[in-house]
């Protein structure tokens, strides 16, 4: 903005040249900034799957195009603002829109934009095609296409406000029934989580690297979305429907990957972290064997025809309550009224045992139904609720009572 420079054609050209140089420099800086961005954690974390890398590529391409377009617009605007000023005596060109440019720009501009659009859409499409339709075949199936098959399923079930994972191919036979291994993954509290505040869980899901996994997303109550940025995508959990996605963690990407629920799911939506421990296949096999034997032990225990004592049930119940029920009813039984009623002094918890059991088994409104828990677990929780926090009913609820109430 140099006041002394009078408005002369020659001078103007000269200045345009200088400005042009500055603009190129500025644009270069912007492009350089992009690489720096990734380094300082301003961009996506580095993806660990092939699909994630493709998506990352699409993202970087569109972001670069967007940045360049923005730079062009800004430069043009800056040029206009400094050149065509009334305060510098610039007279408006009343016939500009009647020039050939004015006549034809309405075709030229869309054509140019369309070209950029097609570039973006084209690069997105090839990625989309690979990623969108999950394969339907196991790699071990006969005639499976090695490029489009999966090694194992993992069912991802969203709950208010925790995640449940099921390994449909891994499990134990017990009394003629098949029980798949499941992992109940709940947020850990602030003190334990430390630096991973809101990003840590008590039971991380363990997954093998180098094997293609088909994720089956669904939900038990409301919408959730399962998002681990390192895998490269998120998927919604819709109650009553199952959605498939697939990904393979690269064989050399052993590590811990954190994410969280990304679809508003009510009160504690902010507390639904996801932690994946990606380990080698051998380690995974060991882990799942371990899980299987624990599962078997708990099945045997829950079915033992045994009278449980108050102490046994109370301690078991306390542990189960604090993982399963305390998100809503709080560890002290105080609830979060008006959404979640307190159990301390609650009419149901102090009233007839049957009503209490029915409430837990069937649920009501936001209160989930807990029928998937074993008789023993429910008996323990109910015993605990009827005797903790000054609810001194003294009732000892046996698994057989739960069985009867089902």
């Amino acid at each position: 903005m140099d006041e002394r420079v009078s408005f002369k054609q020659g001078n103007e050209m000269d200045k345009m040249g200088k400005r042009g140089g500055l603009m190129v420099l500025f644009a270069g800086l912007c492009a350089g900034a992009m690489d720096a961005m990734a380094e300082y954690g301003l961009n996506f974390p580095d993806p660990v799957t092939r699909i994630g890398q493709d998506i990352y590529g699409v993202h970087m391409l569109t972001m670069q195009i967007a940045t360049w377009l923005l730079v062009i617009v800004v430069l043009v605007m800056v040029y206009i603002l400094f050149t065509f000023r009334k305060s510098k005596g610039y007279q408006a060109d009343q016939h500009f829109h009647k020039s050939w440019f004015g006549r034809w720009s309405w075709v030229m501009v869309p054509a140019m934009v369309l070209m950029v659009d097609l570039t973006i859409a084209g690069s997105a499409q090839s990625t989309l095609e690979r990623f969108w339709n999950a394969p339907k075949q196991f790699c071990s199936d006969e005639g499976a296409d090695p490029e489009r098959c999966f090694d194992m399923n993992v069912k991802v079930i969203g709950h208010q406000w925790w995640w449940e994972y099921e390994f449909p191919e891994y499990g134990v036979e017990y009394q003629g029934e098949f029980y798949p291994v499941t992992v109940e993954s709940r947020p850990t509290d602030e003190a334990t989580a430390g630096e991973h505040y809101l990003r840590d869980v008590d039971n991380p899901i363990v997954l093998p690297v180098g094997r293609t996994i088909r994720y089956l997303n669904t939900s038990a109550d409301v919408l959730h979305a399962w998002w681990v940025p390192e895998l490269g995508f998120k998927r919604d959990s819709i109650p009553g429907y199952v959605m498939e996605t697939w990904a393979k963690i690269d064989a050399d990407k052993v590590g811990t990957y954190r994410g969280q629920c990304a679809e508003l799911c009510g009160t504690w939506h902010s507390k639904m972290p996801i932690v994946i421990n990606a380990v080698t296949v051998e380690e995974f096999e060991r882990w799942i064997e371990n899980k299987k034997s624990t599962l078997l032990a708990s099945l045997i225990e829950a079915n033992a025809a045994k009278e449980w004592t108050m102490e046994e049930l109370y301690t078991k119940g306390e542990a189960a309550y604090n993982t399963k029920c305390s998100a809503c009813h709080r560890p002290d039984g105080g609830g979060l009224p008006p959404a979640f009623p307190p159990l301390r002094g609650s009419k149901v918890a102090l009233g007839p045992v049957v009503d209490h059991l029915k409430m837990v088994l069937r649920g009501k409104n936001t209160m989930p139904a807990w029928a998937m828990l074993s008789d023993l677990e429910i008996a323990a929780i109910v015993t605990y609720e009827r005797n903790a926090w000054g609810n001194a009913t003294g009732d000892v609820v046996q698994p057989s009572a739960v069985q009867a109430a089902r």
Binding site: A134, K155, L216, T218, G240, Y241, V242, M243, E244
Partner: protein, 292 residues
């Protein structure tokens, strides 16, 4: 009482300040407040609804009374008449989109969500893992068969008769319009009366059909998506028939008073358009809800 634009050849009538809009607002407000309270079982809700209806009636008489009076005293130019016509036209267009929502939902449910649950289409994995017992078909009450089994209303019973009724009511209305155009008041009044009577018969048949469906057929609002879409579509249509019949009844009353002339009968046309719109929606219903 006119502050209309003056001096110009064709002045546009600008009404005086009017209390009716605010009464209309209060009427709708108390209706909806009442509805919000009463569906949650708060006692005074129904009182508010009653107040709302009373206000609404008062407003309609007052507002349209003013309009009629202004019209009769010749304050409206052709341009004002044109504004009313265009206004009614766009109002009906928006109503059309309201129904389009429900038809669209019916399409989505029949051809997308039920298909997925039954194991075809993009979310077919649902069938593999959750709804493996469910067979995609229409009608359906869904994988959990909500509301229990039900039977269907017989398309060629009451619905077919109702189609005939509505279609012929369209004819009688057009006949009345001819009467109006030819300054044959008798024909106008006869035609309108027949139309209103046919409308009332339609509503009565519809109510009886509902009662039959609820009782004998066990087809209720709770009968899964079939019951839901069935009652939503037919119910909102029935509501529109009632409104249309009320409009026609008002027009009938005004015809008897001799309000309409050959060229000045916007109210008649508005009601007629509305009625034809309701007619067309019914044809869509008959084909897509009852028949197919």
């Amino acid at each position: 009482m006119s502050s209309s634009v003056s001096a110009s050849d064709d002045p546009y009538y600008i009404p005086e300040p009017s209390p009716w809009p605010i009464v209309a607002m209060l009427a709708i407000f108390s209706l909806l407040m009442g509805a919000a309270f009463s569906i949650n079982g708060v006692g005074f809700g129904s009182l508010l609804i009653v107040v709302g209806f009373v206000l609404l009636g008062y407003m309609f008489f007052g507002w349209f009374g003013d309009v009629v009076e202004e019209n009769m005293s010749g304050k409206y130019s052709g341009q004002v008449d044109n504004s009313f016509r265009q206004g009614m036209f766009w109002f009906i267009s928006s109503e059309l989109f309201f129904f389009a929502t429900f038809f669209g939902s019916l399409y989505y449910i029949r051809n997308i969500s039920v298909e997925w649950l039954g194991g075809t289409g993009y979310l077919a994995a649902t069938h593999e893992f959750i709804t493996s017992q469910f067979v995609s078909q229409w009608p359906t009450a869904g994988p959990l068969n909500l509301g229990g089994s039900f039977a269907l209303v017989n398309t060629w019973g009451v619905p077919a008769i109702n189609t005939a009724i509505l279609l012929s009511s369209g004819l009688t209305l057009t006949w009345a319009h001819w009467g109006l155009k030819n300054e044959n008041r008798k024909q106008l009044i006869r035609g309108l009366t027949m139309t209103v009577v046919l409308g009332v018969i339609f509503v009565i048949m519809q109510i009886q059909e509902y009662a039959h469906a609820y009782g004998a057929l066990n087809l209720t609002l709770e009968s899964g998506v079939y019951g839901s879409t069935f009652y939503l579509l037919t119910g909102f249509h029935g509501f529109h028939v009632i409104v249309g019949a009320l409009m026609l009844a008002a027009v009938l009353g005004r015809s008897m008073k001799g309000h309409f002339t050959e060229e000045n009968h916007f109210a008649f046309e508005a009601a007629a358009w509305y009625w034809h719109f309701v007619d067309v929606v019914w044809l869509g219903l008959f084909v897509l809800v009852y028949w197919m």
